[in-house]
Symmetry: C2
Subunit: 559 residues, 2 copies
């Protein structure tokens, strides 16, 4: 596949299409590549034991010399989390707004990376990166300093929406820059790529500031200690919790590593108003009356190692909750985390703690993503000729495309992309011209990419049926059994309570070896060794005796 | 612990308290035991590879001779699913209404069990079981022929609500028997034990019949084939789908083993109106026009092996869906299944199929459980002196108790039970007097109870970090290494792509064995063998090299 020609732009998602999270989009113009966001995603039950998952960027690495920059639309983990892994392999300059870069610098420090190539961008100020002329446009989202980005190319303007919603009464007064979006629309937008996350919600956005009365209502009736859990990057939410707490005579405690770190960055850069006099450290909680404190904490997703979960388990040294206390989860039930969050809530109820959460009280949290009417407004403002839905699972993408068609985008000028689809866009035509190498890379401990889908499949198999190892020592010449078979199991049966079962397994293998391969349905021309016989005998034993299929591994030592 | 005295009744939940599912409650009067429901629960990511989970009934078994009967309130799996495992160990007579027993008989046939002790009960007809005088009272629920049960004892009447809601316009016209409940209230109810599942929902029940217009709306606009997935035990829902399909000129196809079986039982017993002429078999779908058929299917939970999932994967021989077709999920997103259901929906969207589900269209499904206002109505009708919330997680139980207190139940006359709590109730007092042996029993293949929580912990550990086996042959006398170490891994690294890693592991163990236990932080008085050294060396290797903690298993053969 050759590079893009003069009259076209290419678009290639390496993550974030057909899934939520792990966003990474590549734009190509005149042979130069511009990367938008480098996000991570968190593991699911399908990927046990993994720390985080990042996009496979081997395609980008092969064209490292063509990459002119990495654009960060905002500071959420699903947009910047993979940067410490991606950047060392591309070493391109990084562009973003102040708060986003504040978080990136913190991340780079943790990973011992240089921050020499980080360039701060201001909204509305155009700048050139290779053949791309870029303008960051402020949009409201559940993190401060977020942006849509206009990409001016020789064939026209593309608009990459980033994550956004249209909040007309944001906490800091900075609304989405509707004028800049409308101006682009008036000048002509060739293609809009827009956030699909909440396309299945009707209506327009609820404002972030609508959470304040809901917080006040709880603070007003709270009797004891209040713990308010939210996402540590949601600075406006934290601002409102701080303001509500102080208005109700409570000082503020920051709890959780990322809560302290992110609020630290926000204070330094002026994104939050929080007086040092209103802050109490976790260690000195005991010196204050309970009804005079509000703890702002991480752990809203029921993460097993979070500080809030330790509190719920009564394992926290400084924070003990009981009857009369209140926990407010000012946060989303992120899909996949429901079970963990309900466990957290149940534990707190068992301690007599009252829990306020969005399932019972929908006003206690608002989403940062545009619902259908906001998406229509974005289309109405920008009037794009071509439309590509991004950021979402297949159902979101298909629904968003349908919405754009209903708004007048011509059917042949909109398509649903998948990760790895290389799309060519000209002023009059859009089509998928190739599929490129892409995928997920698992980060587990210090290993990045040494675990692949095959290892994941093995882990799932181990977890479902456990495993049995059969060990034998045979003579180098002739294969006579010298020692064993010995059996080792894990996750199959409780050996201490079923010792006779181990003996049965040994017997089964020993008998099968004595009889040999006959009657075991091996192909006639197969070379059958002791390990084949042992494995087959054990598999049959488990199927017949227990109706199970554990992983059976043979180990034959020759002496 | 002695048996109950003349002046008291004892109540013991062995399942279903503090959790959803696996319901089993025991009532004791004059030393005799009556079992209410014997339900199962389905596995979660915490219990990988398990088929189903049933309550531990060892306590009941020890008092087998005192068990006078098993009462089934209705035919859902979380109330009757454990019966094939529980009944053979108690061999008590089973009491239930016609449809419930129809399902039980089918189950017993599958498990090759005798049905000699099954006794059909009719609503409102009192009968005696040991010291208990019982009356089944009809209640509406998401299955036909469901019941609350009044338990008359020498110290007063207990009311066990079963699963219920107050549907005033049910599909078959049979409302909950409010008169019988009110009459009990008027006569005096000592204690109410009531379903807490939906206590966190406000308002009163939406009627089952309110689903019909929502179905009609979809059937009216559907162009191609319609597949409507729902729970196979929800006979009224199936009736409404059938009626809607026929009204819109579509014949009906029953798809899925349990759909065919349950509808078969319902037709036989007269619980559904479905003319044979309106039925088309799966095999003959191809002989009919697509817009003249409606397939009623199982698989609404995205179960990986369900027929609907095979359809979505385009792996079904007779049912192929594409653009213009519609799938209606007339069912709940059961907590824990969200990920699987969204996968199903995404697959269908990718094929161009339109999907209608309760998250976008809340009218397409209604719950079978009483929300807060129905629970208040139950309390108002029955005016119990004592109140015990049942069927629910801790948060539901605590909220339901709070609701009862707000309705006037005295604080000291209501308590939240956990599984294993033995409660003693007298006319004037209620308290937990003991904790008895209880728990979960895992059914995996043919094994019932041979897998315990320790095996589950091992499976989870295997799935998170994989496992490494190190095998060595040493001399019987002196322990000299004769062969090995050999290394076997699964779920740790991809061996084919990292062969040098295996070599490093072997080297690490060989070196450690050569050096011996010195400098490895063993206690001085510890007896340290080759396997201890090998395990410790490998653990260190993984921690340092990969930041991981696989299960390390040694196998030393002596020769």
């Amino acid at each position: 596949m050759t590079s893009s020609t003069e009259g076209s732009v290419r678009i290639l998602p390496l993550g974030g299409l057909g899934e939520i999270g792990m966003n990474l989009m590549v734009y190509e113009c005149q042979g130069k590549l511009l990367v938008f966001d480098t996000g991570l995603t968190f593991p699911s039950p399908d990927t046990p034991g993994v720390d985080v998952i990042i996009p496979d960027i081997r395609w980008l690495e092969e064209r490292k010399q063509d990459v002119v920059g990495i654009i960060l639309t905002h500071g959420h983990e699903d947009h910047i989390g993979a940067l410490p892994y991606v950047w060392p392999r591309l070493e391109s300059p990084i562009f973003g707004t102040a708060f986003t870069l504040g978080l990136v610098k913190m991340k780079f420090k943790e990973h011992d990376l240089s921050t020499a190539t980080i360039r701060e961008v201001r909204h509305r100020e155009a700048f050139q990166v290779g053949p791309f002329n870029l303008i960051f446009i402020h949009v409201t989202h559940s993190i401060v300093d977020a942006s849509a980005v206009a990409i001016r190319t020789p064939i026209g303007t593309l608009l990459h929406s980033g994550d956004f919603k249209f909040d007309h009464t944001p906490v800091n007064g900075l609304t989405s820059d509707l004028f800049s979006l409308a101006k682009l629309g008036e000048e002509g937008v060739l293609a809009l790529l827009s956030d699909s996350t909440n396309v299945d919600r009707s209506g327009s956005s609820r404002s972030e500031s609508s959470v304040r009365p809901a917080l006040d209502e709880q603070m007003a009736r709270a009797q004891g200690l209040v713990v308010c859990a939210t996402f540590s990057s949601n600075i406006h939410r934290i601002q409102q919790i701080v303001d509500s707490a102080i208005a109700h005579g409570r000082k503020v405690v920051l709890n959780g590593r990322s809560m302290e770190a992110n609020v630290g960055v926000a204070r330094e850069l002026g994104f939050i108003r929080l007086d040092g006099d209103d802050l109490v450290t976790v260690k000195s909680i005991k010196n204050h009356e309970r009804h005079r404190l509000c703890i702002i904490s991480t752990g809203s997703q029921g993460e097993p190692n979070s500080s809030l979960m330790r509190i719920a388990h009564q394992e926290h040294r400084d924070i003990i909750l009981g009857a009369g206390d209140m926990v407010i989860l000012s946060s989303k039930f992120i899909p996949g985390n429901e079970r963990a969050i309900w466990s957290l809530i149940n534990l707190l109820y068992e301690r007599g703690v009252e829990v306020v959460h969005e399932k019972d009280n929908p006003h206690i949290h608002v989403s940062g993503h545009a619902p259908a009417d906001d998406l229509k407004t974005m289309l109405a403002l920008t009037k794009p000729r071509f439309f590509i839905p991004m950021h979402g699972e297949p159902r979101h993408l298909h629904l968003h495309r349908k919405l754009a068609l209903a708004m007048g985008v011509a059917e042949e000028r909109s398509l649903v992309m998948e990760n790895g689809d290389l799309v060519e866009l000209t002023p009059n035509h859009i089509s998928i011209i190739d599929r490129v190498e892409h995928g997920r890379v698992f980060v587990d401990g210090k290993g990045v990419g040494d675990i692949c889908d095959i290892v994941m499949r093995d882990r799932r198999h181990l977890s479902e049926d456990g495993m049995v190892v059969v060990v034998m020592v045979v003579a180098k010449d002739g294969g006579q059994l010298l020692e064993g078979p010995e059996i080792l199991t894990r996750g199959v049966i409780h050996e201490d309570e079923n010792p006779q079962m181990l003996e049965e397994m040994r017997e089964t293998v020993a008998q099968a070896l004595a009889i040999g391969a006959k009657g075991m349905d091996f192909n006639e021309d197969e070379q059958v060794g002791a390990s084949d016989i042992a494995v087959r005998a054990l598999r049959r034993f488990f199927k017949k005796r227990l109706g199970r299929r554990p992983v059976v591994l043979p180990m034959v030592m020759e002496m």
